[in-house]
Structures are given as C-alpha cells and as structure tokens.
Homo-oligomer: 392 residues x 2
C-alpha cells in the first residue's frame, strides 16, 4: 500500500486527526462546581478586573491559531478552506507532538485580506499566538504585516520564518564543513515567494551580505520595474552589486544555491558553474530542484532537500514547535529576527563536531533535544531583546 | 476552602481547562509521511473534488464552536471575551465529558451583530455545529436567526434551547405526579430573556396552550407597546386570554410558575395564590427566585431549581451534550423543535414510575444513560423530520 492510500485510510478511520482534551476531571457535583458554575465565576471576575490574568486562569497562553485561507496549500494551490483542513490538522498534530503547543485550525471562508485580518482580530482573545499557513504570496506578507501591527499577540508565518530558520541552521553547519565564512560567501536564492523572501530577510539580518534572488523572470535587481512592494524591498536590501540577468548568470561562482522554487529547475550545468565546495539546498517539495545524486555528480559538496528519504532533510518541524513553545513560555509580544537566529544556532549546535559531515548537517526531527534547545534559545533571545512578557 | 478559592487554584494550576489531543501517533518518518506531507495531500485532493468529504477525512464533523461575545456571562453581565473564557472552557469540558463532543471556545472581540455573524461565517469551515452562549438579549435572537439563515451547519443556543429542553423534561414528569395534562394547565413564566422566550417557544410547540409570560414591567400582552420584536412575537403566540397586569395578577390559580429571572423574586404569598398541587421551577442561578423549603411551605408540591444542592436540579448538561452528539451523528442540518422535544422526553423517561416522586423528577447529570438516550432520540427525530444528512 502506498503512502497516499494509507493516508486516506487513516484519515477516514480516525475521522480527522485532532480532538479536544479536558485537563480537569468532571465526575461528580463537586468537580462540576469547581470547573463550571458556581466556581468558574471567580476566575471570570479576576480576569474582568485585570485582563492580563487571562494568561493565568485560562489556556489562552498555550493555544495557537493556525490561520489559512487555503489559497496555497502544499503544491496543490488554491483548494479552499475545507480541503486545506487535513494539512492544518496535521500541523496541529506536529505542534502538539513536537512542542506540546495546543494549536487549532482556523480555515477561513474568504480570500480577502481585510476579511482575513478582521476574522483573526475578532477571534484573537482565545489565542496566545497566530501561525499563518499556506496563504498565497504576496497576500501572506500583507496579512502578516497588518496582524503584527494590529494584534497584541505574536504572529509567525511558518512558510517564511520556519523555513528560513531551518535553512540557516543548515547553512551554518555547511559553512563549518567547507571552511567558508558567512561574510564572504555569495548566495543565490531561486524563488521569491514567502520562503525565498523569508530566507533572504533572515539571512541578511544574520550578516550574510551577498545574497542575490531570482524569480521566474530572472534576477531581482533594483532596475526591475515589475516587482511588487515585497520584492522591491528585498531588491533594495540584497544584491549589493546590483547584478542583472538570468539565474545561470548569477550562479556562476556562487558558494550557495538555494531553491525555494519548483521541481527540477536546477541543471547539472548550473551546479557545475558554482564555486568549489558548493552548497546546494534544493527545498522544493516533494520534487526538489535537483536530486542530491545529480547535484553531487555536478560538483556540489553539501546538498539538502525537504525530503526525509534523502540525507540532510531541512524540515520545518525542527523549528516551529520550539519557536512557538519558547515564544509562549516567555510570553513574548513578537517573534523577532534575533529569536529566530537563536533558534537556528540551537538547531545547528545539536550536530556535534564529530557527527558533522557532508551528509549530516541537521539533527533529526525526532531528536528530543531539538525542542528543548530551540525553546531555551528562543526564551533567552526574547529576554535579551526585551520582548519577553511578565510570565517569566 | 470554599468553592471560589478552590476554583481559582485549579484554574491557575492547570493553566486553563482545555488542550488539544492528537488522534494519530507521530513517532517516525513513516507516521509523519502519512499524517502530514506527502500523504496528507490525498485527503486534501478528495475534499477539493467533493467538499462534503471534509466530514469523512477531517474532524470537522465532531467540532462545535462555542461562540460568545462575553456580554451576558453567568450572572456577571458584560465582562468581555477574555473574562468569558473560563466559562467557555468549562462548557467545552462538559461537551467532552458528557457527549464526547469536541468544542472550542470562540470568544469574540466585538459586540456588534454584523461582526459576530461575519466572524462565525468566516470560521465555519472547520466546525460541524455552532453553540451560541451567553450573548445578551435580544442580540442573541438576532445572531441566532442570521446564523441559521446564512450557515449550512446547525446552530444551537443553549441558554434558550438547552434550558427549554430540561425544563420540559421536568414539567412532563411533574405533570405525571400531579395528574394534570399539558393541554389544560396554566403556566406563568417570569423572565423574558433568552431562557424565558426559549421555554415559551418550545412548550407552545409541545401543545401547552395557556402560557403567560411576564417581564420586569408585568404581563406580556398584545396591548403592550414597549415590546421588542421577539417579545412581540411571543405575545402573539402565548397568553390566549390576553391577560394583563402584574405577575401576581396572572399567577393566581396558575398550575405552573417558572422563574427565569432573578434572585428572590417569588414571595410565599405569590406561591400560595397558585392552584393546588402547584409546580414551581425557580431557575435563577445561583440564587433561585425562591428556595424550595419556602416554596413548599407556601403550598408548592414540586419545586425545581438550577442548583445541585437542592433536589430536582434542572441542569442544562442533561440536554446539550446529547443533543449536539445526536445532531452531529445524524449530520442534521438544523436542530428543530421536534428534536428538542424528543430530547426532553428521553430525559423524562429515564425516571421510572417507581423512582418518580416530588423530590425526584429529573435524572442526575452523571447518569450515563442520559447522553445515550438523548442522542438516540435526537437522531430518530432528525430522521423523522427529514433533516438528517447522509452520514447515517
């Protein structure tokens, strides 16, 4: 039986993947009186007096809304809120399993930015954070910006931030292997959607100066007149030599090539034009831009993909559960670049000097140390940057 | 330690009362591939092809949104969405414990009817039913009407419907005790909020012809010019002799007096003016309109309250878990009067002829037969009235 068939059977048999768990027992009148009326009136009164106590007496501080409009689900595209639900339930399962974060799928019956923002603001009282998921580009940036401005809880967008963190962890360890430093490398990112832009933003803020992005029309340069505001902003911040042309023009001599684009877009010729000790992250999923064997045959030294059946899987589950766990535990009011960079180094550092090799640059998702170390690093960075709340 | 203090300690220690439960394990790459990518794409595709399959492959069909704007929470009034959360979490615990229904609190940051309706419609894709809770009157009727018209999932309003069902169950058994028939009794309902109006609507549809309602200004008659549209509608349908005056005027000679009003509003004199074998339901909570000992001293034969420390507790938990369970299991597109009446008789019939006495007219909430029998009755009525969906 193949995975597809097995998935259908599992989803049908279980009738979905998530249910509610009561944290309190309710087996006699006394239990009822404490968990419900009349006892429950007391925490209500306390919160009515001081709204912030909602974090003390309710589960708000551990619940994350997984918000989507279903417009860019996996590689399936715009399939709508109902068809997006299996993915969002799956995400909730990962949040719970890998971070003990309680997450609830909010699949919205709208594609309109104003309505998405409005809906999330209206339901925000019961959530400790928002995780945006699978919203199409560039709408995802608009929604993220608006929510960050208008909500008093942190907003995470895994397609940007989670991917950027895991890729940075992989890069940090790859650079150790090849003996290059982040300040001196040239990075080419192919793909200018949420992942590409998210990676560029985070890596730039970590001091990787020479990053050049490409979209399907070629290099993102400051001379392009067809860029949306998000690509325009990244064009301003990246591409220090204002290079122009096609992907193959800028990849020549590059140290790192990262694909956040589509299947089979990297040729052997492209890889062989790179500098020696080339690092290739082909993150398109499930079919990468190039398979590791071909990239290696063309001269790449370190190759990572999104797939679990190849070495060096760059899996977001390494990042988002611990990042949200640390954010909730520190009651951080935002998730800033420093917190994400700290998460990336925490992940990278879980691969010891002895373990580190071309085919082992990232820890495995099931390594229980990952969540713990990412959480710890995120809390520390939240405190250091002054965004931690009073819970700690 | 009193209940209030104990409630505060419990809520703080547990950090709220609800968390997420994953229904699937996720302990290796294979599990991940089936519950998440790439396997999860398959149920997504199936639902994209046929939206209704969201009930087959996701948990939608077992999730209920507990929707409130926090404007009429317990006896605490308009305390806002955050302070309402302990009650909504408590409701979710009861749904889970007594009906295996997964319910999630949606406490909305708005008091506006349009915004409440809009928010619920936007998040509806992930829910199998809506349970309105603690929305102030008459807004609750407006919201309920709009949602019923505009959503394709059933809408329940426990403050109206749950209360009406349990009270009807109590009435049915009380009438057996006193040997009167529903067609010939006179019922006075004091309180014209969601509970009072909900009870009047359900009881009228069950053939109790002579019902007179009162609000704080006196009898609801067709001559009153100060009634909102909901009171006006109930005035048209009730009070067959178009009686006028005050509560004490219409209670004279009445067989049943039901309070859905406020503490200590019924005097001994009021009760003693009723017909012989008087039935008094004093449902104001936590302080009833009159305590059972006083009502009995004034001549009442059967007295029920909302409290667990008096006999004959009319507790909504007898009704709503089984009603929603049956509604979800039958995939009913609405919860109609026949389904609620069937639920009331299922509850009443759990008190056997031998058990039935003045101080025992309703089964206990912890009686496990309650959910089963209510569920069965609701499913049967849903099928009979043609509102059951294709799941059964």
């Amino acid at each position: 039986m193949d995975i597809q068939e097995e998935a259908l059977i599992l989803h049908k048999k279980k009738k979905g993947k998530i249910s509610l768990k009561s944290k309190v027992k309710c087996s006699n009148d006394h239990d009822l009186a404490v968990a419900y009326t009349p006892g429950v009136a007391e925490p209500c009164r306390e919160i009515a007096k001081e709204k912030d106590k909602v974090y003390t007496y309710t589960a708000k501080g551990n619940w994350v809304a997984i918000v989507t409009d279903g417009t860019r689900v996996l590689g399936l595209g715009d399939i709508g809120p109902e068809a997006a639900l299996p993915v969002m339930e799956g995400k909730a399962v990962l949040f719970k399993t890998f971070g003990n974060v309680d997450a609830f799928p909010i699949c919205l019956a709208t594609k309109d930015v104003e309505e998405i923002v409005k809906a999330v603001k209206l339901i925000a009282p019961v959530f400790g954070a928002i995780n945006l998921e699978d919203v199409e580009n560039p709408k995802c940036f608009q929604v993220e910006k608006r929510l960050k401005e208008e909500l008093d809880i942190p907003v995470f967008h895994d397609d940007q931030h989670g991917t950027a963190v895991v890729a940075l962890a992989g890069l940090v360890n790859s650079l150790k292997l090849v003996g290059k430093s982040k300040e001196n490398i040239k990075v080419v990112i192919n793909g200018c959607g949420s992942a590409g832009i998210g990676i560029a933003r985070l890596w730039l803020s970590e001091g990787i100066r020479n990053i050049v992005l490409c979209d399907s029309k070629g290099v993102i340069s400051r001379d392009r007149t067809d860029l949306n505001e998000y690509k325009k902003a990244v064009a301003e911040a990246s591409n220090p030599n204002n290079e122009k042309g096609s992907l193959s023009d800028v990849v020549k001599g590059a140290d790192v090539l990262l694909g956040a684009s589509g299947p089979n877009l990297f040729t052997k010729e492209l890889i062989s034009s790179m500098a020696s000790n080339a690092i290739v992250f082909a993150l398109a999923n499930p079919v990468p831009e190039i398979v590791p064997s071909e990239a290696k045959a063309a001269g790449a030294r370190v190759v990572a993909t999104g797939r679990s059946d190849f070495p060096n899987q760059a899996n977001n589950v390494l990042a988002f559960p611990g990042i949200l766990r640390g954010t909730l535990d520190s009651r951080a009011r935002e998730i800033n670049q420093q917190m994400m960079i700290a998460a990336a180094y925490a992940i990278a550092n879980l691969v010891s000097q002895e373990e580190l090799k071309d085919d082992y640059i990232l820890p495995k998702p099931f390594d229980k140390r990952v969540r713990k170390e990412v959480t710890r690093a995120v809390i520390k960075a939240a405190k250091k940057t002054g965004v931690a709340g009073k819970r700690i």
